[in-house]
């Protein structure tokens, strides 16, 4: 049964990756904005948990505060930075890169460069026959599935989602129908950042929380989007599964370094050979 554990680990990594990539994808797909600070927003979500733990707040409170706080941060970032450079996609890469440096350094100044640890709210293990797994990790996976499902539902089934998809497809036409595109850009950005914050908070107890943690998720997140295809939302699932799955499994079977190198190279190959992504259409 020793192959089940790596598979569950892989699934767990994939779900987190998809959660992060979803936020990136909403912003990229909709506005063409590459948010290099997305990893830092994810990190700040985890640091909200650190603050909550230090001030004795219950774990659940942290899970509520993290997305709210990071979402608010997203709102500020959108108003002060992103909205001024919507029409300059390459500049958004540079500007958000500057932001990512600043946010990282703020955390270093505040908490120091060392890593923090968050106590898991549930210590028990779930045992099924010979297979045994930390209960909290299973909870995180469940929560991630719910969040991914919720995001899909929001974008595919609600009026907000209908307008958002219209703006992605034909921004000018949507505006001539009375849709406030700016408004949609703003709230989609906020949703994307709040998702990153919540993802960071959720997995904080399972990883070491440090100021550099963002990048380790940002690049795989982007590769997932590009591999899966930036068009349909479902591309994130395919891309996340391909990138995350390969990475986790190769980590176990070869080594973490070889896995990362192999995954990056494979991803680059896929992006080069199929720029529209695995699930992308004719575009």
């Amino acid at each position: 049964m020793d192959f089940i554990l790596p598979l569950v680990d892989a699934l767990s990594y994939i779900l987190i990756l998809v959660l992060i990539a979803l936020g990136l994808m909403i912003v990229f797909g909709m506005m063409g904005v590459i948010n290099m600070a997305h990893g830092e927003l994810f990190m700040i979500g985890a640091y909200v948990m650190v603050v909550c733990q230090n001030s004795g707040l219950p774990f659940l409170a942290g899970l509520i505060i993290a997305p709210l706080f990071v979402g608010l941060l997203g709102l500020i970032i959108e108003s002060l930075l992103i909205r001024h450079i919507y029409l300059r996609p390459l500049d958004t890469i540079l500007a958000t890169w500057g932001l990512s440096i600043a946010l990282k350094q703020l955390i270093v100044l505040w908490f120091g460069p060392e890593s923090q640890s968050i106590a898991s709210p549930v210590d028990s293990m779930v045992t099924l026959g010979t297979f045994s797994y930390p209960a909290y990790r299973l909870l995180v996976m469940g929560a991630a599935i719910l969040l991914i499902g919720g995001t899909f539902w929001t974008f595919l089934k609600t009026d907000f989602g209908l307008q958002a998809r219209a703006v992605i497809a034909r921004p000018d036409t949507a505006a001539t129908l009375g849709i406030n595109t700016r408004h949609l850009y703003r709230w989609s950005f906020v949703i994307g950042t709040a998702l990153a914050g919540l993802a960071g908070a959720l997995i904080a107890p399972t990883i070491s929380v440090d100021p550099q943690m963002g990048l380790g998720y940002l690049i795989p997140g982007f590769l997932s989007i590009l591999v899966g295809g930036a068009g349909p939302l479902a591309g994130v699932l395919a891309g996340g599964a391909a990138v995350g799955g390969t990475n986790s499994l190769l980590t176990v079977w070869i080594s973490p370094v070889a896995a990362q190198i192999a995954v990056f190279l494979l991803a680059i190959l896929v992006i080069r050979m199929r720029p529209e992504g695995l699930l992308g259409g004719k575009k």
């Binding site: 497809a169 000018d172 129908l177 406030n180």
Partner: protein
């Protein structure tokens, strides 16, 4: 009444409209005719706020429109059917209509029965993807999508382009009927003379970004010289 006065607009430094002025009477269908590249589409895009104005004023029933964001212009009562229809191919007919309703002031689908009354085909194919429609059917959807917001004025950019002639006539008759029935003002940009003769009350001719002549349809019917001069027909 849509009043356009002394409009200058274009792309970057290249101005397409030069001192363009036009008045469109309420409840009437005005057709704007002219050769390609004379500024017809630029005019409609400028009215919709899709192109920035260099100078000039636009007002609808006395309310100034210039400088407003596109969605505000739409909500002020300007319906727009763009060139090439631009329906959302991945959306169903219902989603296309629902989207327009969401953007309008009404925010509801109370116009839907009326729309189905005018265009029964949409009711039959409500859950079909717009991308599977023929050009003519997409045009009907694009018009319905604009009408569902109950506009005061409807801007139509070459609705007959790439559509089979039988449907062209049908659309023309239907739009004329809707205008008479509801008092809807229409600005029709068109090169198809039959369509103009079917629908229009007034005709305006544009050349090199300026209004050359405005007359009633009667004059056009009696006199081919105008068509010859402005459309080389």
């Amino acid at each position: 009444m849509l009043e356009i006065s002394n409009l200058q607009a274009g792309y970057n430094e290249a101005m397409v409209l030069h001192d363009f002025s036009l008045i469109i009477e309420s409840g009437k269908v005005t057709a704007l005719m002219g050769r390609n590249g004379m500024g017809k589409t630029t005019l409609l895009k400028s009215i919709m706020g899709l192109l920035p104005l260099a100078s000039g004023r636009i007002s609808l029933d006395g309310q100034p429109l210039q400088g407003l964001e596109t969605h505000k212009i739409s909500q002020a009562g300007v319906g727009y059917v763009p060139q090439g229809r631009e329906v959302f191919e991945d959306f169903t007919v219902y989603e296309n209509l629902r989207l327009a309703a969401l953007g309008s002031d009404i925010g509801s689908l109370e116009m839907l029965p009326q729309i189905f009354n005018w265009f029964p085909i949409l009711e039959k194919r409500l859950s079909q993807k717009a991308g599977t429609f023929s050009g003519g059917q997409q045009q009907i959807l694009a018009i319905a999508r604009a009408l569902i917001t109950r506009p005061k004025i409807l801007l139509l950019d070459e609705p007959t382009e790439g559509i089979q002639p039988s449907i062209v006539h049908e659309i023309g008759v239907k739009l004329a009927e809707i205008s008479t029935q509801t008092g809807l003002t229409i600005l029709l940009v068109e090169q198809n003379v039959d369509m103009v003769k079917t629908m229009a009350d007034d005709i305006a001719f544009i050349e090199n970004g300026a209004l050359m002549e405005q007359c009633s349809k009667q004059i056009l019917l009696e006199n081919d010289a105008l068509l010859h001069r402005y459309l080389s027909l």
